[in-house]
């Protein structure tokens, strides 16, 4: 029994050599024709799955980003439109106010000018009248002087009739 057990626990050199040969053959053939392609395929598949998942995730994130971007753009556009409208209103009011002011200034100016013109005309007319009065006075004086020479009574009559004949305007 002990001897038998001994043979069991003593490695036989022949079996060692055969095992080395057979396992080496097994290992090299499988490494080349099985493990390399199999592991390659498994890895490829895993990478494909991983990449697909990542791509999907990226796409999802991008979509969310785009959505939020859109929202921001819309909100901004809205804000812009509001501000543009406000601005336009302000401009309109300003223009109106300016126009009104300008118009009133113009009117004032026109009135002023008209008044001045009237004044000028008036002054010219008065001057003209003054001149005519002066001329008339001279003429009257001339006629009076001529009449005084002939009679005193006649002279007064003459003056009265002349004055009566003067009509302003």
């Amino acid at each position: 029994m002990i001897i038998l057990a001994n043979s069991l626990t003593t490695p036989a050199i022949g079996t060692v050599i055969w095992t080395t040969l057979i396992f080496s053959l097994f290992f090299f053939l499988l490494a080349k024709f099985a493990w390399k392609p199999i592991l390659g395929f498994i890895k490829d598949r895993e990478e494909t799955i991983k990449n697909s998942l990542e791509a999907a995730e990226t796409a999802r994130e991008e979509m969310i980003k785009l959505q939020s971007d859109n929202e921001i753009i819309i909100r901004k556009a809205h804000e812009d439109s509001v501000s543009i409208l406000k601005e336009a209103k302000e401009i309109k009011e300003k223009i109106i106010a300016e126009a009104k002011e300008k118009a009133s200034i113009e009117t004032q100016k026109n009135i002023e000018q008209a008044r001045k013109q009237i004044q000028d005309e008036k002054t010219a007319a008065i001057n003209d009248i003054k001149q005519q009065i002066a001329e008339l006075s001279v003429t009257i004086a001339e006629k009076v002087l001529k009449k005084e020479l002939s009679s005193k009574g006649e002279h007064n009559k003459m003056v009265d009739s002349l004055i009566e004949g003067i009509k302003l305007n």
């Binding site: 001897i3 043979s7 069991l8 050199i13 022949g14 079996t15 396992f23 097994f26 199999i38 395929f41």
Partner: protein, 344 residues
């Protein structure tokens, strides 16, 4: 399927042994068991009624210093026959060993020839190698067909095991960056052991039933493969740890270096013994349970015995996976420890 085969064989064995018992030989359980688990030059099938055994005689390849290489069928040296000066010892110190004998029949003990015979274990090894090659090259072809699509057919059974070895053995023990180099070896050693373990459990017909992974020469060789790969992968830190352990006082080195060097060899030794002992023990238990029938010489024991055998076979099937896993795991661990580079 394996189980039904075993039950079938158990039946055959019972039948054969009862016939054997007919010649009124005393049944020797330990001989019966040892004959089954030990390596041999012939593949014993069954005994005929007249006591003649039916066996497949395997080729003997032998080398001796004086006669050189010689190759012949083991039938020529069966039953103690001497052929060409060679004799297969059946008793004594050299039981089961082919020895050189002189014309007088004296054993030349100083000059034991080297035996490279295709023994039962070698046939088992060749068969498992062939089965493994067919299985995995077939698997690789099926991958070429399916491409990177989901696993189909045999892939669904084998891919989880391959992934398990990669994700739970190689990556955690060797590391993310280096594990790929060792995957072919780890996968090969795992499936080689597993196929041999399972083939050893299937009792019949040949080449099934050889106790290959319960042969210490086989387990030793596999452990030596791991040992060599471990040493080749050994980085600076690994050798430094052996010959100049950091933080060790110099005067302790003469003690510690031999201990560490011994440690290099105890690892593969543990691998050798663990696989050999577990598988052999499993075979011994199953065969012991079968032997009970012949020891009690009663058919009443048979159902109980068979029930236990079935139970043990289920357990052994688990052990077949477990031991292949443990061997691969420890190989990966040893390689990982040697290949480690980061400082801690």
């Amino acid at each position: 399927m394996i189980l039904s085969l075993f039950v079938f064989l158990t039946g055959t064995t019972v039948f054969g042994q009862e016939e054997h018992g007919g010649i009124d030989e005393k049944f020797n359980a330990s001989d019966f068991i040892m004959d089954h688990i030990a390596d041999s030059h012939e593949w014993h099938l069954w005994d005929k009624k007249n006591g003649e055994s039916v066996a497949i005689y395997l080729p003997v390849i032998i080398y001796s210093k004086d006669k050189g290489f010689d190759m012949f069928s083991s039938k020529k040296i069966a039953h103690g026959h001497v052929y060409n000066g060679y004799k297969l010892e059946e008793e004594g110190d050299f039981k089961g060993v082919i020895v050189s004998v002189d014309a007088m029949g004296n054993v030349d003990e100083a000059n034991i020839p080297l035996d490279f015979s295709i023994t039962k274990s070698v046939v088992g090894l060749f068969s498992s190698c062939l089965i493994g090659l067919l299985l995995f090259i077939g698997l690789s072809r099926s991958y070429k067909k399916t491409g990177i699509s989901h696993p189909r057919g045999i892939q669904r059974f084998l891919e989880p095991i391959i992934l398990f070895i990669r994700d739970d053995i190689a990556v955690p023990n060797i590391g993310e960056h280096k594990y790929e180099r060792y995957m072919p070896y780890l996968l090969s050693v795992f499936f080689f052991i597993l196929i041999n373990n399972i083939m050893g459990l299937v009792p019949f017909p040949p080449p099934f039933g050889a106790n290959v992974t319960g042969n210490i020469a086989v387990t030793l060789t596999l452990a030596v493969f791991t040992f060599i790969i471990t040493q080749i992968s050994g980085k600076k830190q690994y050798w430094q740890h052996i010959f100049a352990t950091p933080g060790m006082p110099v005067w302790l080195l003469p003690i510690m270096v031999p201990v560490e060097v011994l440690g290099m060899f105890t690892k593969p030794f543990a691998l050798t013994i663990r696989l050999f002992a577990n598988i052999t023990a499993g075979h011994i238990i199953v065969l012991s349970l079968v032997s009970l029938i012949f020891i009690f010489k009663s058919l009443v024991v048979a159902p109980v015995s068979i029930l236990f055998v079935i139970f043990m076979d289920c357990l052994e099937l688990f052990v077949a996976f477990l031991q292949a896993y443990v061997f691969t795991l420890l190989s990966a661990l040893f390689i990982g420890l040697a290949a480690e580079e980061k400082h801690h």
